[in-house]
Symmetry: C2
Subunit: 245 residues, 2 copies
C-alpha cells in the first residue's frame, strides 16, 4: 500500500531529539509517501550492487548492514533500531555498496528518493537534519574501525553493548532489562571475531558481574564499569544537545 504515513511520526521524534529541532520544522515529513512492509528474521532486504530508488525507515525490529568476503565470511557494518534509516546515503549514492538485512522480524517503510529530495529542496532545516543523520552514521563507522582495529575482544564486545544501550536509550527504547535479540554469531560478524571468542568473552563479562544474559535478554548491571572496559566515550554518537551548533 502506498500511504501518506503516520509512520513519519517515529522519524520526526527521532530528528527532534537528535537534531534538537521542533516538530513544526519537521511537519513536512508527514507528506512523505511510503510503502510499509514486514520482513521475517534474517531476510536480505537489499543487496550490494543494487540500484535503489527508495530509502528504508525502520519502524520495528533490528536491521543490519553488511558486506561479505570472498570466502563467505560476513562483516556487519552497523545495527539499526526503530527510527533509523539504514540506507539514507542512497539519496546521493544510489548504488548499494553493501547489503541490508533484518536480524529480527522487522517492519520497514520504503520512502521514494524523489519525495525526500523534493522535501530537502523545500525545507532546508529538514535537509540539514537528514544530512546530519548521515554524518552520525559515518561517525559510528569510524568508531567501529577503531574498535575492530585496536581493541581486544572483551573491549569490543563491551563497546558494542554500550553503543546499543546508549542508542536505544536515546530513542526511549532501553527498557531494563534491555532486550538484545542479537545472536552471538551476529556479534561476531559485527566485531570481527569468531563465534567461539564471542561466547567466551560474554562468559567472562558475566563472571565479572558486568552483565547477565538469559533468554535473549541482556541485563547491564554496571554500565559505568562496562564503559570503562569498552573505552566507550559516547561523544561519537553526537547525542548531547550542548554540543550542537
Amino acid at each position: 500500500m502506498l500511504a501518506s504515513l503516520g509512520h513519519a511520526d517515529i522519524l520526526i521524534r527521532r530528528l527532534e531529539r537528535s537534531s534538537g529541532l521542533s516538530a513544526s520544522d519537521l511537519q513536512d515529513l508527514h507528506m512523505l509517501p511510503a510503502i510499509v512492509r514486514e520482513y521475517g528474521r534474517n531476510e536480505t532486504i537489499s543487496h550490494e550492487g543494487d540500484r535503489v530508488e527508495h530509502c528504508l525507515l525502520v519502524l520495528e525490529g533490528y536491521v543490519a548492514r553488511f558486506q561479505d568476503t570472498r570466502d563467505g565470511r560476513r562483516q556487519i557494518l552497523s545495527f539499526y533500531v526503530p527510527g533509523d534509516i539504514p540506507d539514507l546515503q542512497t539519496l546521493h549514492l544510489p548504488t548499494m555498496d553493501h547489503s541490508v538485512a533484518s536480524i529480527t522480524p522487522a517492519t520497514l517503510a520504503k520512502i521514494p528518493h524523489a519525495a525526500i529530495l523534493d522535501l530537502c529542496d523545500r525545507n532546508r532545516i529538514a535537509a540539514a537534519a537528514l544530512w546530519r543523520e548521515t554524518l552520525i552514521d559515518a561517525s559510528i563507522s569510524r568508531t567501529w574501525v577503531r574498535c575492530v582495529g585496536r581493541l581486544p575482544a572483551h573491549a569490543r564486545i563491551a563497546h558494542i553493548l554500550c553503543e546499543l544501550y546508549t542508542r536505544l536509550d536515546a530513542v526511549g527504547l532501553a527498557e531494563d532489562p534491555i532486550r538484545m535479540p542479537i545472536t552471538q554469531e551476529q556479534f561476531a560478524d559485527a566485531m570481527g571475531l569468531s563465534i567461539v571468542q564471542v561466547n567466551r568473552t560474554l562468559r567472562d563479562l558475566r563472571e565479572e558481574g558486568l552483565i547477565t544474559v538469559q533468554k535473549r535478554e541482556m541485563i547491564v548491571h554496571d554500565l559505568t564499569r562496562l564503559q570503562k572496559v569498552a573505552q566507550f566515550d559516547p561523544l561519537y554518537l553526537h547525542l548531547d544537545p550542548a554540543l550542537r551548533r
Copy 2:
C-alpha cells in the same frame, strides 16, 4: 592571510570529477574565503573534542584522521589526498570526534563553516555535491570496517594499497611509480596490525612480485593480482560516472 582563493580550483576539479558536475555549477566555490597554512610532517592539526568553525581542504601532502586508545595505541581512520576535505562533517557536527594530522609536509586551506553553509543555501547543486562527498567518506569507513574486521593481514595491506592507488588515480595524482610516503607504522595503525606484521606482509607481497618498494616509492607491478589478493572492488569509492544518478 584571508583571501578569496584560487585554491577553490582543486576543490572544483575534484567535485567535477566525483559528482559529474560542470565547472559552471561550481563557480560559487571561488567565493569561499580561506586561510592557507603549511604544516610540517606529523603535526596534529585538530584534536578530538575540539569545537571547530572551519573545514580543512587539503591542497598538498597527505593527511590522516585518527583516534587513540587508552593505552596509547592509534587507529588511523582514513587517509586524505589533495582535493579532499577531511573534516567536512564538522559543518553539521562541529565537535571533532577524532583528530586530524599531517603525515607528510602539507598545505591546507581553512574555510569557515559559515561561508560553506551560506553557499549551500544559495547553491543546491554544490550542496548536494558536498553532501555526496561526506557519503563517500562514510562508504570508505564502512569498507575499512570490513577490511580490518574480516581480512587477513596480506589482504588488508593489499587493500589499502589498491585504495590509495585508485583514489590518487582518480584525481590525476597516480604517477608511475607511485610515491607512497606512508611509513610502515602508519600502515599498521591504519589496518589494525603491528609494525612487524606490516613489514613481513610487505616483504611477502614483494616476493610474490606484486610490488616493489625503494626509498619510499612504491611500484605496483600487477594491479590486477593485487586487487585479487585484496578482494578489492572499487565500487565503494563511487567513482564510476555510469553509476551516478
